[in-house]
Amino acid sequence: MSADAAAAVCEYVVKQIVDNPDAVSVSTSDNDGALRLDVTVGDGDMGRVIGKRGRVAGAIRTVVRAAGVDDDLSNIEVEFVD
């Protein structure tokens, strides 16, 4: 359930930040016990999602992890796929 929360939060946040929300997709997979979220964004939006010195990406990771905390998801990886 909370895995869904993490993914939902991730997708929501990314869509709010990019210029082209329709091009955003988040896929989940199990990576050795950790939940892995692969985020793809439209052309030119990667910079926004990552931000200066990875600041935005870091904030997204923090928030997404927090969303998954309830469900024993000790580890959530958020990868921004180019």
Binding site: A5, A8, V9, Y12, V13, Q16, I17, V18, D19, R48, G51, K52, R53, R55, V56, G58, A59, I60, T62, V63, A66, A67, V69, D70
Partner: protein
């Protein structure tokens, strides 16, 4: 823009090395003395002077601009004034004398005229650009300025009023809370003419606050990013989201700490450098110190390592 740290027998030597490394003229560099040379017994150099330098940023960020207004850019002047060189003509004069050793580097204009325009620049970053452009468009460092200007054009679109920005922020946060599965309430407060604070409260907010408020902080960061994209780059004022009220509590603790540090600076007359912190925290420091007598603040370094230094008032002039 990155800092380079160099050493030398004297501060001047270290600066020379830094200029060579940066490949810019003295006028276009910004210095900060990390430590002076320590002389051992019989005047022998025990420890080299350390200086850090970087290419002077062409466009100060907006919030610095606001802060420095009326303070005459003390911060930067301080950075430039080494031990043996005083006041305005400092860098320019020095590079004039030493031009020989760095032969071939364009000298640009004389130190004096630059000195004059520098102090004007610091008062208002916007003037800086126009002034520089009129000043001498042909100098090498200017090219990077122009490039930057192209990358980030000033948009002519009207600025979004603050309440409207706050609407966007609230909408974002409520959407976020919904996906967190947390019921929240939000209250809005005008903390200053140009700042609205949205405090987010709720019963089960622990997850949205995080350890030491890290998640709360991240959410505020994201709000700013969202505003950047949805309200445009030329926003007036700021909207701050305080999840669970942690920010307020933290800010109070930080302000207390700053007052202690300020007292120390006042007594000892020695500047104290605080650890690097984010822009919001730095603002707390600046605001707190602004109300303290006998001390001043300057910011140095680049995010995420930008830090505030509390200096004795007058020292910076």
């Amino acid at each position: 823009m990155e800092w380079v740290v160099t050493t030398g027998k004297t501060i001047e030597d270290a600066k020379e090395v830094a200029l060579d490394r940066l490949g810019v003229h003295g006028d276009d560099a910004e210095f900060e003395v990390l430590s002076e040379a320590k002389t051992g017994l019989f005047g022998r150099v025990k420890e080299d002077a350390r200086v850090r330098a970087r290419v002077r940023p062409s466009t100060p960020r907006a919030k610095d601009e606001r802060r420095r207004r009326g303070r005459n850019g003390k911060g930067n002047d301080r950075k430039r004034s080494g031990k043996s060189q005083g006041g305005q003509s400092g860098q320019g004069g020095q590079s004039g004398q030493r031009g020989q050793s760095r032969g071939g580097r364009p000298q640009g204009q004389g130190g004096r005229s630059r000195g004059g325009s520098q102090s004007a620049e610091k008062k208002n970053g916007r003037d800086e650009n126009t002034q520089k452009r009129q000043d001498d468009a042909g100098r090498p460092a200017r090219q990077s300025n122009e490039k930057k200007a192209k990358e980030k054009p000033m948009s002519d679109e009207p600025m979004m009023p603050l309440p409207q920005q706050a609407d966007i922020a609230e909408e974002f946060v409520s959407g976020l809370a919904e996906r967190f599965g947390v019921a929240v309430e939000m209250s809005r407060e005008d903390v200053a003419d140009d700042e609205i604070r949205i405090t987010v409260t709720g019963d089960d907010m622990g997850r949205m606050i995080g350890r030491r408020g890290s998640t709360a902080m991240a959410i505020d960061d994201l709000v700013r990013t969202v505003l950047q994209r949805q309200a445009g780059s030329s926003r007036d004022g700021r909207v701050r989201v305080d999840v669970g009220g942690v920010r307020t509590r933290r800010a109070e603790a930080l302000a207390n700490f700053c007052r202690q540090q300020a007292a120390g600076v006042r007594e000892s007359g020695v500047a104290r450098s605080l650890e690097p912190m984010g822009g919001a925290d730095r603002k707390v420091v600046h605001d707190t110190i602004a109300e303290e007598d006998g001390v001043d603040t300057i910011s140095e370094g680049e995010d995420p390592n930008r830090r505030v230094v509390i200096v004795p008032a007058g020292d910076a002039a």
